[in-house]
Amino acid sequence: MPEPRLGYENLGLGVGLRHPHFNYILENWPAVDWFEIISENYIDSQGRPRHVLDQIAERYPIVMHGVSLSIGSTDPLDFEYLNKLKTLSAAINARWISDHVCWTGVAGKNTHDLLPIPYNEETLKYVAQRVVQVQDFLERPLVLEDPSSYVTFAASTMTEWEFLTALTQETGCGLLLDVNNVYVSAVNHDFDPARYIEGLPWESIVQFHLAGHTNMGDYCIDTHDGHVIDPVWKLFCLAHQRTGGVSTLLEWDANIPDFNTLHAEVLKAKKLIEGQPIAPTADEKSNGSQVPHPAHRIEHEVS
């Protein structure tokens, strides 16, 4: 068993906590290893979302995954937001806090998208000092995810995996390796996804993400609205082999199925880890949503 990375243990196989499953979870307490929440859905909640989370956090490990840190933005860091992250993480004993290597907006605006940054020395220096600031404030290592992306910049002088490697070396942050994002970006930017995984600092990888996507023909969109496809499972196996195994989580954010279907999907990872075959996934979806995640919001309930 590998040593916990950055002190963050392997939590096993988890799923993203989504509101259509609230009642099922509270009534059945399913045998899932852990849950990941979208931080922004809970840091201000004084209603049912927080009430449900508090009950779930008493029984399961929780990881906080954010979409608005905007670590790559040239706007100032939002310390009020960071303070809310810190407060919630203490209240629910969050095992770690993660977000994405991206920017979400600039000049005070938030596009609520995970926008890519150019990968070069200047950006690396800039993002690294922000990561250090955030880690100092949160008093814990930050865990950052590789984003799926649809453009690359003329200003880039290094690959994404080179950038992430350098970022972990500069800051000591952890990596959340989304193997589906690697696949999506590989299709969109014409690189070999296996080479990407081989090029990462495996010892810094704290967590994996798995998800489905939509194949648009000459590009892919990271829609989180279906099963994980076989090429992504192959990348997962490679990443598992290289890291020795880390906490693994399935995200499913649109066309959300019943909880058992969701849980069964992530349990395929267990079979693969044990060397067993899994049933092949049907062909890649080509007619799903065309909106990349995140579109996370908990809808109200009214009598």
Partner: protein, 301 residues
């Protein structure tokens, strides 16, 4: 003419340019040509590869379009989830137009999507052709609908009183009329009061049952929103009840609240019966968190 050489723009410049391009309402090509983008990077569509590289199969513009399409689609969907009955009532096409216009005027400035609709009712009111007039037409009905749905969203995830006991009807019934008259009642933190020139709440009830609910005629209505066991409740009020509750919420004593409400709506027949029924209803709906009993004084019933 803009140069076709690689643009090594600083990160702040590149981000402001990209944001201007992908949030432009006219699409990516128009966005690149817009002054909002060109003030940051003065590049023509034909030369945009000098900023955003192409892939083997897709041009730079096509690649940027993924973000541009997603920007509006994502936020319009989010607004639809905050204002579901409004969206159902106006239909997808008109809702998209409203939402995109709104987002141009009020782009998100928050880390959370929960604040995205905060200005939508105001936006609708101020862009109504009847704004500033006494006309009450379909547009004003829509404003009322948006106000309620925004309020429901706020009550759903805002402060509540689930871990505290509310004042029961029995507690109120156990008080002498004199003490009760001089008392102050603290309303629950999730109480929201609304008055409308249209029967908005009745329409919402009908629209939840059928997407073809008929748009109602002018008819004033009054509504309280509250929350119990984490579910938002809609409580229709009479005009008198609305004014009493509004004044209690403002901190007036029961007697003063009732007398003020009477100034507003006139004295109802059987005032003691009407007041007793109103407070029974308020307490049954758990609208009071606590009561500060007053000193005995002869009431004016």
């Amino acid at each position: 003419m803009a140069s076709s050489k690689s643009h090594r723009a600083d990160l702040p410049v590149l981000q402001k340019w990209m944001q201007a391009v992908i949030t432009h309402v006219g699409g990516v090509a128009n966005g690149i040509d817009s002054s909002a983008a060109r003030q940051h990077i003065d590049v023509e569509v034909a030369n945009v590869e000098s900023v955003v590289t192409r892939s083997e199969k897709r041009t730079s513009v096509e690649r940027l379009e993924v973000y541009a399409n997603a920007y509006h689609a994502r936020l319009v969907e989010c607004l639809k989830s905050i204002f579901p009955i409004f969206a159902q009532t106006v239909g997808d096409e008109l809702f998209y137009e409203f939402a995109v216009s709104y987002l141009q005027q009020y782009p998100s400035t928050s880390y959370t999507l929960n604040r995205l609709g905060d200005h939508f009712p105001d936006f609708l009111e101020k862009t109504s052709p009847n704004y500033g007039t006494d006309t009450l037409a379909f547009e004003e009905f829509l404003v009322g609908l948006a106000v309620v749905e925004r309020s429901i969203d706020e009550v759903f995830d805002g402060p509540g009183f689930e871990r505290q006991a509310a004042v029961s009807p029995q507690t109120l019934e156990g008080m002498s009329p004199e003490v009760f008259w001089e008392s102050r009642l603290k309303t629950v933190p999730c109480l929201r009061l609304h008055s409308f020139p249209f029967p908005i709440n009745d329409f919402i009830t009908q629209a939840k049952q059928s997407p073809d609910a008929e748009i109602p005629e002018f008819q004033p209505s009054w509504l309280a929103l509250s929350r119990r066991e984490y579910v938002v409740r809609r409580i229709p009020l009479t005009r008198f009840e609305y004014h009493v509750l509004a004044r209690l919420e403002g901190g007036l004593r029961v007697g003063d609240a009732v007398e003020n409400a009477m100034v507003e709506v006139g004295e109802p027949e059987d005032l003691p019966g009407v007041v007793a029924a109103a407070f029974r209803k308020f307490a049954a709906e758990q609208l009071f968190l606590s009561i500060q009993p007053g000193n005995e004084r002869t009431n004016t019933w």
